[in-house]
Amino acid sequence: MKRPIPLIVGALSGLIVLAAMFIVPQGGGILAIVLNWVIIVAGAALLVAIASLVLTHVRFIAKGKKGFLLSLVLVISFITTLALGLLLGVDRPSFLKFVGAIIRPIETALLGLVALVMMSAAMKIFRERGWSSLTVSFGVSAIIFLILGLGFPQNLNIPVLNEVIRFVEGLPMIGARGLLIGIGIGLLLMAFRVLFGMEGFGND
């Protein structure tokens, strides 16, 4: 069951933005207003999301639910960062170093774990999926580009080999083009569905 009001609002917003794109430069003012609304609403939604997250973990702590220590860490970190940001200001270099010194290693470590998981998945993909066109093409391309990434073939300085390497390195662009074309067509269809009330807003 779709609610009519959100559906109408969403469709009208899309039509206005689309019309403003074609009415240049008069449509720029309308587009600026609408996009500012979008940014403000998105910021408000981000604040709501942060508040919801904090309240959820506070409830976990209050109920003593399993893993509430992690919730406690989250709440303490949030309160500390918020307090320091309000007191010191977000542009203060010391504050920025403090935050950066925490976030940077954590996210880097997470990226390293992603590398391990991907490597494990690369090993298991043949056992799980068997020999198929997908797995074979994946394995061959991975081996080729890992070898190229090591730099050994390039250091040989063989002209013919360099041409081959150049051709091989250009192959991903073919796939990228197809990917981008698919993304563009998908976005267009999705936009039409949203404009005509077939997708998106208003769902219960």
């Binding site: 240049v24 430069p25 449509g27 720029g28 003012g29 587009l31 600026a32 996009l35 500012n36 979008v38 940014i39 998105a42 910021g43 977000v90 542009d91 270099p93 920025l96 170093k97 935050v99 950066g100 976030i103 940077r104 954590i106 996210e107 880097t108 997470l110 990226l111 590398a115 391990l116 490597m119 494990s120 690369a122 090993m123 298991k124 993909i125 043949f126 056992r127 068997g130 020999w131 394995g139 991975a142 081996i143 890992l146 070898i147 990434g149 090591l150 730099g151 390039q154 250091n155 390195e169 250009g170 991903p172 662009m173 796939g175 990228a176 083009r177 990917l179 981008l180």
Partner: protein, 689 residues
């Protein structure tokens, strides 16, 4: 079997006929249980006496005078029944138990037992047509036997269905039973319908060849037909021949000497046959001694006709007893006073025969052959048949017990196939080891970490300075070199801390070069974390800390309107100090997400044709940007370690990077090899199967 009404019990009260199994008279309702009371057998455990049947049997077995003589004695001439009776009474060699029985019979008024009393009462109530006497009945019956009336002699309680169809061959008692209890008759018929009927098909004169043919036919037919005891030729005759057992015992010895008999031949009688036969003498105690004497007399007359008949008579007693148990009508015959004596003789003789059977195994071997005598042959032919039947018709023929059913044959063939495969060489089943997920992942992680740690500990290796850059990176360098002093460059930082190391290593040299050329920077960050990341980047690039870094909420969406209409930014307060994008010569997008770069190129670039866009991204996202570089929307982009000319950076370990790539390559190859090995093992197993 007789055709008169002797099979039916006569009520001692009203004298009317009742079925043999009736315990109460159907006419007057009086109890008839007394007719079935066995003389000498206690009615209850409290009534057990010293002269009970087991004691008597035990005495018979232990009596050495009743042991089977070792030598074949000539057949004694049977005296008349009266003489035998007197001689037995007066003989000093009588066993103690028999003397006790006879003393009791003389001393006690009711020594003959309740059963005999019942039969006496029955005799009194019988009509005059029965008064002809037992002896007359015996003579008539024996005459019928000698007339070889197969139809009269082959009828038994368990007759074949086709036999029962002929009403002339069915005794009267059986017809009455069928009339009263048709269902029971059907059940009985169903049970024995597998028995073969040889009565009408048998040749009248049996020769060795005919018997062989008979046996082959029997073997060819259903095994169960052979397994079941065959019908006797003359039930009534055998009943009458029970008293002849003393003579037949003496004739057992020549039969035991027959070498052709083997235990495996015709052994279709269960081993517990003797157990079934044991209680029979107790029932037969009601027979009067006179009846036994008469039977002995008749038997002696038979024996005079030839040795063959004697041999047949010798083998008949046990089937007779068996028939007494099986045939319902036989109970009626027990009520006859003459037959009660006959059974008494059987009681005397049967323990002796059992003793002989226990002492001489050969004697027991003769018992199965008795069932072969029950093939419907005439008595005279039966007397000649046993020797032939007891011999295997064909030495190569399969005994009935070894005939295989279809299911048994299938099982045998299956067993044979298994035995054939036992010696074949087959590939051993190899255990397929499935590596546990935890162990595998732990091994991979340890291998990677060890390699990286070792490579890091060895020390940073300088990246070759002559490492060629990619074409987009070279195009980006050329574009930067075209910039002159005081040109404005907008730097948009849109990446996260996780990829900051890679992007900063690429972007910092570019910023340093731009700063060296006197280019004015404007730094925008689209993410909150971009503020401290920009600070780190500026520090690495050697730029002053007071360089303006602004947060751009909504990323490129915030700049679309200004890109469309520069007048908007001039006349309104904007969220950033970036008023007009057209004042910038170059927009340098530093992002780890190709979609953000694509948004800039697709949403902003079309409105500002003179604005150049360049990108610094990760090597993972670089392929997506290649079409935009190929189309000219990007003047150039730098991605990866080689494009950043970061070999000179001390914070970057080129050796660790290469070791990491090498380990990933090895793991990928291991995954492929393990899969290939698994497939090879599976194919080998399938081939082995």
């Amino acid at each position: 079997m007789t055709e008169d009404h002797s099979e039916l019990n006569l009520c001692p009260n009203c004298g009317k006929e009742n079925l043999p199994m009736a315990t109460r008279c159907v006419h007057c309702g009086s109890e008839m249980e007394d007719l079935f009371t066995i003389f000498g057998q206690p009615q209850s455990p409290d009534e057990q006496s010293e002269d009970s049947l087991p004691d008597i049997i035990e005495e018979i077995r232990n009596d050495p005078s009743l042991k089977t003589p070792t030598e074949v004695e000539p057949i004694p001439e049977v005296p008349p029944a009266d003489q035998i009776n007197e001689s037995l009474l007066n003989s000093e060699e009588l066993p103690d138990w028999l003397a006790k029985v006879r003393e009791r019979a003389q001393g006690e008024e009711d020594a003959i037992g309740d059963l005999a009393s019942g039969t006496i009462a029955m005799d009194a109530a019988r009509s005059e047509e029965v008064s002809a006497g037992v002896e007359g009945e015996f003579n008539a019956w024996i005459n019928r036997v000698r007339e070889k009336s197969q139809q009269e002699n082959s009828v038994r309680a368990r007759q074949l269905p086709n036999e029962t169809e002929d009403s002339d061959q069915v005794p009267e008692w059986l017809q009455r039973i069928r009339a009263l209890r048709p269902h029971l008759e059907e059940e009985i018929t169903h049970e024995v319908k597998t028995k073969p009927n040889y009565a009408d098909e048998m040749p009248r004169e049996w020769t060795d060849e005919a018997l062989d043919e008979l046996r082959r036919q029997a073997l060819a037919e259903d095994f169960e037909q052979e397994a079941e005891p065959l019908p006797t030729t003359s039930t009534g005759a055998e009943e009458e021949e029970l008293p002849a057992e003393p003579e037949t015992e003496e004739l057992n010895e020549p039969v035991q000497d027959e070498p052709e008999l083997t235990e495996d031949d015709f052994h279709n009688i269960p081993d517990d046959e003797d157990e079934i036969l044991e209680p029979i003498p107790a029932e037969d105690l009601a027979l009067s001694p006179e009846e036994a004497d008469e039977a002995i007399t008749d038997e002696s007359e038979k024996e005079e006709q030839g040795a063959g008949e004697l041999e047949a008579l010798e083998e008949e007693p046990e089937p007779q007893i068996e028939e007494i148990l099986e045939a319902p009508g036989q109970d009626v015959s027990l009520t006859n006073a003459s037959q009660s004596e006959e059974v008494e003789e059987a009681l005397v003789e049967e323990p002796a025969s059992e003793t002989e059977a226990s002492e001489t195994p050969e004697q027991s071997e003769l018992e199965p052959s008795m069932t072969e005598d029950e093939t419907g042959l005439p008595p005279e032919e039966q007397a000649e048949a046993p020797e032939d039947i007891e011999e295997p018709a064909d030495s190569d023929s399969v005994p009935p017990d070894l005939l295989l059913l279809r299911d048994q044959q299938d099982r045998a063939s299956l067993l044979a196939s298994l035995i054939e495969q036992e010696g074949r060489v087959t590939a051993g089943k190899q255990l397929t080891r499935k590596p546990s997920g935890r162990g595998g992942r732990l091994a991979v992680a340890l291998l990677l970490l060890i390699g990286l740690i070792v490579s890091i500990l060895i020390g940073p290796a300088a990246m070759p300075t002559d490492t060629p850059k990619s074409i987009p990176a070279l195009a980006l360098d050329e574009k930067i070199q075209t910039l002159v002093q005081n040109d404005r460059v907008l730097v948009v930082l849109d990446y996260q801390a996780a990829t900051s190391r890679e992007l900063e290593s690429l972007a910092a040299p570019l910023l340093t070069q731009l700063h060296s050329q006197g280019i004015q920077f404007t730094v925008l960050v689209s993410q909150p974390s971009g503020l401290f990341l920009a600070q780190s980047l500026l520090a690495q690039a050697g730029l002053p800390e007071d360089t303006l870094v602004e947060h751009l909420p909504g990323s490129y969406l915030n700049l679309i309107s200004r890109a469309m209409n520069p007048a908007i930014s001039d006349g309104q307060d904007t969220l950033t100090q970036v008023k007009d994008l057209r004042s910038f010569k170059l927009v340098l997008l530093v992002s780890d997400f190709s979609d953000n770069i694509r948004g800039w190129l697709e949403q902003i670039a079309p409105w500002i044709g003179s604005l150049n866009f360049a990108a610094v991204t990760t090597q993972m996202e670089a392929p997506v940007l290649s079409p935009y570089f190929d189309s000219g929307q990007l003047v150039g982009y730098a991605a990866g370690i080689g494009d950043g000319n970061i070999g000179a950076q001390t914070t970057f370990s080129y050796r660790a990077y290469r070791v990491g790539l090498l380990l990933m390559l090895v793991m990928l190859l291991l995954g492929m090899i393990s899969k290939g090995e698994e497939d090879a093992i599976r194919r080998e197993e399938e081939r082995a199967e």
